[in-house]
Amino acid sequence: MRALPPPPKKNTQRRTKVPTLPPLMRSRAALGLTAAASRSELRLQQCDDCGSVLYPPRDACSSCLSVDLSWQAVSALGTLLAQTNVHISTNTYFRERAPLRVATVRMDAGPSIICHVHADCEAGARVQMINRLDKAGQGVLMALPQKVTPNMDDDPQLRELTAHPKHRRILISDGRAGVVPFLVEALQEAGAGMIFVGLPEDWRPEPNGQALRDRQGVTLLPMDVTDTSSIRRMAGEIGGKVDILINTARFVRPGGILDRRDTVFSSDEMEVNAMGMMRLAQSFGPAMMMRGADGDGSAVAFVNLLSIHAIANDPAFGSFNASQAAALSISQSLRAEMRSGGIRVMNVYAGPTDDEWHQPLPSPKVAPQALARSIVQGLVDGSEDVFCGDFAKDIFERWCRDAKVLEIELGQGTG
């Protein structure tokens, strides 16, 4: 596949295309596919009784009528049986993107699947199925070539399903975060366009500052997520150029609720971690949503970095984790609100990070390099939920298994 060229400079004489969405409606059963797609996992329904792999999603097994079905990881491999280019669609979203490549793939796991198909897949070829979120935020399946092909990520359909940084302009909200130098490097390796980095309180020294300032393709801007006026000012300047917003701002202090007699740190945690996200969304979100279908460099993603303890509080950082829960809740609302603009709200969850505030904690801790890699991989995959490191994955798995048991374990300090 030919490499995607950088998008041309915006023609200011033409109306920006209003984002339209693929169909949003699904059965309740089908939301299992979407849930797996939010983590970019390929899962299909499987009968707990007879083991049949089922598709499309069902309420009962079509082999044995058991109603005990669960979403399981299955072999992603299959054979492309048939394909077509749909030139005419009754749906506006598809009409604007016609012709659409659609294929029938017989999965090694059993079912036949009508799916999106990568341009490099040949008739009769072996393919690898992926499960991704579409612009409506629903899970869809796409067949990729089994082996990596040149510029594979540039396939237009695949790009619709992901938030790939290539040629996209990125705003990193807080350049003081330790992850930022590594994040900038990883984004540029992935082909990112201009990277804007917010730098709060330029009256304070910033160790990252000079290196960022000297880096090609990076522009530092005075911005503080707790200062509405600074965000408004920056949104006024660059709001129409932000394709991906990555919120790196974070305020963290150890301790539970009773470790302090005041709410000063808690208030800072809420202001930065929760309200900061809200302010960024309020100032940058609407402009991003208007540009959700703005060609190859369309706005695609709003990214938050959260502690995995947003889903279950670890009292050692009880106050901070409360702010993370608030931030998670805000992100869930944003996700629904930004859907109509085709903007994906991505949360990257990490365990304890390797920084001054977690210094006395034992390993494993998440290194900033690893966090940067997870963020970029999440964008490349177009995930909604990204779990960085084994710690975060472990907490998430335990939360899925039994949220109450996890709460008890964390409360006992045995988590």
């Binding site: 693929p22 169909p23 409606m25 699904r26 059965s27 059963a29 089908a30 596919l33 598709y55 499309p56 999603p57 079509s62 049986l81 048939a82 394909q83 077509t84 280019n85 749909v86 030139h87 005419i88 669609s89 009754t90 749906n91 979203y93 598809f94 993107r97 016609a98 012709p99 659409l100 659609v102 294929a103 029938t104 017989r106 036949s112 699947i113 009508i114 799916c115 999106h116 008739a123 009769g124 579409d134 409506a136 629903q138 869809v140």
Partner: protein, 388 residues
């Protein structure tokens, strides 16, 4: 157990309410027109009708129940048929047994749908749960993409070409030119067929049916009642229906007919080559090919060769879809599942007029319905014969 024949039961009063490309009327309106005309032929008042079988996609939010109150009917036997393209035959199978058993004296089997400017789009988005979950989100909603995939696979597997499909479409257009009610009124050449714009390759414009508004009806009653009313009628020698056959096939290359074909012809006491005409369900030519194969005209994959040597026109050696089929007459929703059957009743009763196959006494009618996900789920067939 051997099935009981449809002795003493006939199909009569076939009516096709001429189709319109778009209609602001409702399904109720179209069905009422069909009913009124058929009952008028049978010299019956609406209140005398004691059996009703309805097939429609666009009655929403009504069902057959809402319809009877809407139309002032009071049947003692009521049915709603949901098999789409197979509804003509499946409606008969139920109605005939009711009449045979005395549960109803006369069953009006009616199918009708309207077609507003955007009703096709709306119908597609809510067609089925599997479509909602697994085809519509891919831009593959509706039958075009699904049949494109089947056709692509069929062509690659059996070597059929677009010319092979084109010949069938061109022949049907020739037939349609003799049917003044057909929506398509211009001749179609093979060159024009091949040059048409792609809809979903390899499906091009003339492989697709035109969604239209319209209604079809026939009455099922006892043979002696029909003759007492002075109606010309036909008998059904055999029928089959089958749903979700061959569900393990990776992609649909055959339908339920192949499961039941032997029993079908045994009951009819004839074979595929004993037909004077054949009405296949033709919402894409590849489906007509599959029906011919699965109903014994040739081996699987052999339809292209089989048809290459035959003339499918009304006066040809293999009269097929004599009114022009859905490809040229239009597809009036569920009425598309009746079109071949009402035309066949007219044919074997000598009432087909300008599309009459001379001396037609026996017709094969086949139905195929409901692209629930990746394939048609319902199949049906019947052998219709003139009364001797």
């Amino acid at each position: 157990m051997a099935r009981r024949a449809y002795d003493g039961v006939v199909l009569t009063a076939p009516v096709t309410v001429p189709y319109q490309r778009y209609s602001n009327e409702t399904a109720h309106w179209w069905i009422a027109r069909a009913l009124r005309e058929a009952l008028s032929l049978a010299q019956m008042k609406p209140q005398q009708l004691d059996g009703l079988s309805v097939a429609s996609f666009s009655m929403v939010p009504d069902t057959a129940v809402g319809l009877v109150q809407h139309l002032g009917l009071s049947p003692r036997w009521l049915d709603q048929i949901v098999t789409g393209g197979a509804s003509g035959i499946t409606a008969f199978r139920r109605a005939a047994r009711a009449v045979q058993a005395g549960d109803a004296d006369v069953v009006a089997c009616v199918a009708g749908d309207t077609n507003r400017i955007d009703s096709f789009r709306k119908m597609l988005s809510g067609f089925s749960r599997f479509a909602m979950d697994a085809t519509y989100p891919y831009g593959a909603g509706g039958p075009n993409a699904c049949f494109a995939l089947l056709t692509d696979h069929y062509m690659k597997t059996y070597g059929a070409t677009r010319e092979d499909f084109g010949r069938l479409c061109v022949a049907q257009r020739d037939n349609a030119l003799r049917n003044s009610d057909a929506i398509m009124k211009k001749p179609l050449t093979l060159e024009a067929y091949l040059a048409a714009r792609m809809v979903s390759d390899p499906i091009a414009l003339y492989d697709c049916v035109m969604p239209v508004a319209g209604a079809e009806i026939y009455l099922v009653m006892r043979e002696d009642d029909a003759s007492a009313r002075g109606l010309k009628s036909a008998r059904m020698a055999s029928t089959i229906e089958r749903h979700n056959a061959h569900s393990d096939d990776a992609i649909q290359m055959r339908g339920g007919w192949s499961v039941d074909m032997d029993e079908f012809y045994a009951m009819a006491d004839c074979g595929p080559h004993d037909m004077d005409l054949v009405q296949t369900y033709d919402d894409y030519p590849v489906i007509s090919f599959m029906q011919l194969e699965d109903l014994g005209y040739c081996d699987k994959g052999g339809a292209a060769d089989f048809l290459r040597d035959r003339d499918l026109r009304i006066e040809g050696d293999f009269p097929h879809n004599t009114s022009g089929g859905q490809l040229s007459v239009g597809q009036a929703g569920a009425a598309g599942g009746f079109l071949g059957l009402t035309e066949a009743v007219r044919q074997v009763t000598g009432q087909a007029g300008s599309t009459q196959v001379p001396g037609a006494k026996r017709a094969l009618v086949s139905g195929f319905g409901m692209i629930n996900y990746d394939r048609g789920v319902c199949s049906a067939a019947g052998v219709l014969e003139a009364l001797t």
